[in-house]
Point group: C2
Chain length 155, copies 2
């Protein structure tokens, strides 16, 4: 339960909400090097890191995967595509160390959010905020590229 | 009310929820050329387009604004930063035609979502989904740049 409260998605939930959430989780061990989430596949599960490290990547073309992030902190999570339609993973994730993760299925979380709209509202607000932050970061990276191009045309 | 139901944020709301929402709106007219949202400023209002056209831009550097999108359809909206912390607009928006817009203040919408968590959950889910879509599009653009760089190193 303490681990769940460290995940940005579950910030602001009450003790009893976290307890109900903890009841729908299971723990899994994943070996170093294994991909557990594939870009383009059905997003059925959300993963919260307990121990270890995971890397998120996106395929640019054969032989070139662009690293998006490395997560090492307990409570870091991946697989949030399992929370929103069309429920398709948008990234590849692999363990870069032997890892332990808490897994929550799409179906169980959806049911919990339908039963408790306050919980649903909090989780979705947290998710929207995180998505907006990532969108800003990604736009920032894009700006760097455009800035380079713009400057080269000014010379 | 019909206009509000066309906005992606409010998809899935019931008739009575849309009615309550319509009670906290006001309508404004904005002249062609006017900026009504500035990047970096406090996000106090959400705007839903009724008539006209708006352009979203982000400043890359002085003299170079990168266009992000043009909205022309009734129900298109901007200013969603007013729905999530830190409540700071992440883009500039200006009217490219004389426009009419429906305005909803951050404070009134927040209150409505607290009073009706089901409504809050729906709005936040719709927002998160939209943010994820925009994030994917932006990553896609970034990939194009990386692909160009990658290919030039392979030659």
């Amino acid at each position: 339960m303490q681990l769940l409260s460290q995940c940005y998605l579950f910030k602001g939930l009450s003790e009893s909400q976290l307890l109900r959430l903890s009841e729908i989780t299971k723990e899994v061990q994943i070996q170093k090097g294994r991909f557990f989430m594939k870009e383009g596949q059905q997003a059925e599960e959300l993963f919260v890191l307990k121990e270890g490290a995971i890397e998120l990547l996106t395929k640019v073309e054969t032989g070139f995967d662009l690293p998006i992030a490395i997560f090492r902190n307990p409570g870091d999570c991946t697989g949030t595509s399992s929370l929103v339609e069309p429920y398709i993973y948008s990234l590849n994730s692999r363990c870069v160390e032997d890892s332990r993760m808490i897994v929550i299925t799409k179906t169980a979380l959806k049911k919990l959010m339908q039963e408790d709209h306050e919980l649903g509202c909090t989780v979705m607000r947290n998710l929207a905020q995180q998505m907006l932050d990532r969108l800003k970061e990604t736009r920032q990276e894009l700006k760097v590229h455009f800035k380079t191009i713009f400057r080269s045309t000014q010379q």
